[in-house]
């Protein structure tokens, strides 16, 4: 399929970009790997739940629909090249489907994932990502009556705890590794962002009985009878105690999804894709909006998406620049507030698994010079997640930056690469691999 503007990611940034470009006359296709559009914050509950429909989301979705942009869900982009081709894999119950899309302009709105840091017991059933557990609940997992510790760092912890409480969970505590002193300037600065304060007020109402402990973190998840979670060991740096729980939701803020930008050869600014005021990357026909350009939350994603969409359509975006700069500044303050403490680097024991795909323990990584060496010797980062989970963890633990990011983004059945150019609708039904 061919699109004048192809958008990867149907989160707030991608939705805003697609809407702005389509409203200004472009033929737009949006690709997203989830079952429904919305990205992380607007992830649709696929099963009825206590969570009320988000008005902002509803409005954005209706406007997207009216704009004429075409949204294709369930498609994971696994490769891309700057000459204008993107390939996707669709995993259905009956098999895999590979499709190819061609673009004139591309908007990368791939959002972020959670950062995970290994600690003893983090591979036990019952330990989830914070946003991860929230997503699973939206997909129909019930946490009603379950006792949950929410831990890690970042504003996401409160959002997740609120959501889980609304779904009937008992949140025994929210543990934020950042100190109060670190958080105070950030909290004070929220007065300039009324929307964020309203959200904060909702959290407080839902969690008024739940202790929010700053400067505390989980050092171990402990199994009960059977191989599932029974309690967590928690510390504030001087004291250590045990909190019994059914589930632990633990995530250390966010890591941008920048792999596709790397495939294309876009320039980076530290961990983020470098963009100009039009959200244009170092490649003239590739734009980037939302979390991959800097972790700054919903409003930043929306305004950057709109700017990118307008820029694709050749329209002015001057009136949006002030808002965009304010949101970027908010992101910078957030990054400082939730900076990771050094103690988190010494959580893994020698036998703690770091690479979950290949079960590589921490001890086997120590002594290697860097990624290339460790990959060859231990297979760390060579499993199906392609280092997207252990990579950011190892960057914290050992300071290794990822070396080269190779296509495909995740394992794709071999047949996907024998693409029949002449095929009618550019679709290949792949033969089922046997279990």
């Amino acid at each position: 399929m061919r699109a004048e503007v192809l958008v990867i990611g149907a989160g707030p940034a991608g939705i805003a970009a697609a809407t702005a470009a389509a409203e200004n006359g472009c033929k737009v296709i949006v690709l997203d790997d989830n079952v429904t559009a919305g990205g992380q914050i607007w992830r649709g509950a696929t099963v009825d739940s206590a969570n009320t429909q988000d008005v902002a989301k509803q409005r954005a979705m209706e406007r997207l629909q009216r704009s004429g942009a075409q949204v294709l869900n369930g498609r994971s982009v696994f490769s891309a090249d700057a000459s204008g081709t993107v390939q996707t894999l669709q995993e259905t119950a009956s098999g895999n489907v590979v499709e190819q899309f061609h673009f004139e302009k591309l908007v990368l709105a791939t959002g972020a994932r959670e950062r995970f840091l290994p600690f003893p017991g983090w591979t036990l059933p019952g330990v989830f990502g914070a946003g991860g557990l929230q997503a699973l609940v939206k997909g129909g997992y019930s946490v009603a009556g379950k006792k949950i510790v929410v831990a890690g760092t970042g504003p996401l912890l409160l959002a997740v705890a609120t959501h889980l409480a609304e779904d009937g969970a008992v949140i025994s505590s929210v543990l934020e590794q950042a100190t109060l002193a670190q958080l105070a300037p950030f909290a004070a600065s929220l007065w300039t962002h009324p929307a964020k304060l309203v959200q904060g007020a909702r959290f407080r109402v839902k969690l008024w009985k739940t202790p929010y402990r700053a400067g505390c973190w989980v050092i171990e998840a402990i199994a009960g009878s059977g191989q599932t979670l029974a309690s967590v060991r928690v510390t504030d740096g001087t004291r250590t105690w045990t909190e019994p729980c059914d589930l632990l939701a633990c995530g250390y803020h966010l890591v941008p999804n920048t792999e596709i930008a790397a495939f294309l050869g876009c320039a980076f600014r530290e961990s983020f894709v470098q963009v100009d005021s039009a959200q244009r990357t170092s490649l003239p026909n590739v734009f980037c909006a939302g979390e991959p350009a800097g972790i700054a939350g919903l409003e930043a994603a929306l305004v950057q998406g709109e700017i990118a969409g307008l820029a694709c359509a050749g329209r002015s975006h001057a009136s949006l620049q002030r808002r965009s700069a304010a949101e970027r500044a908010f992101g910078d303050r957030m990054e400082k507030a939730f900076a990771l403490r050094a103690e988190l680097r010494s959580l893994p024991r020698p036998d703690t698994i770091v690479c979950r795909c290949e079960d590589v323990p921490f001890a086997r990584l120590q002594g290697h010079q860097g990624w290339t060496d460790a990959k060859l010797q231990t297979r760390c980062g060579m499993g199906p997640c392609q280092g997207r989970i252990c990579g950011p963890a190892i960057e914290q633990l050992l300071g290794w930056r990822p070396v080269s990011i190779r296509q495909p983004l995740f394992p794709v059945p071999l047949q996907a690469f024998c693409f029949p150019d002449a095929s009618e609708n550019n679709t290949t039904e792949l033969i089922k691999e046997k279990a």
């Binding site: 330990v127 699973l136 997909g139 129909g140 191989q227 795909c357 997207r388 046997k434």
Partner: protein, 81 residues
Amino acid sequence: MPKLLSILINNVTCQVAPGTTVAAAMLLAQQPSRISVDGDPRVALCGMGICFECRAVVNGTSHRRTCQMLCEDNMTVETNS
């Protein structure tokens, strides 16, 4: 109340609401999605298609990311070993 879907998880019949992801159904049934290289049970971690801890055998095909897949009536799901 919409009609529940019937799926088979590790040979046990389970009823789930339409819209339930396969990963959520496996958690509800308390079944691991996969057995790790060293033989440990694992369940979904990220819930968003990144970590591959939720991969299971769905309708005979192994290594399917179940957090990105909705249950269908009469689906068979097994722990990926």
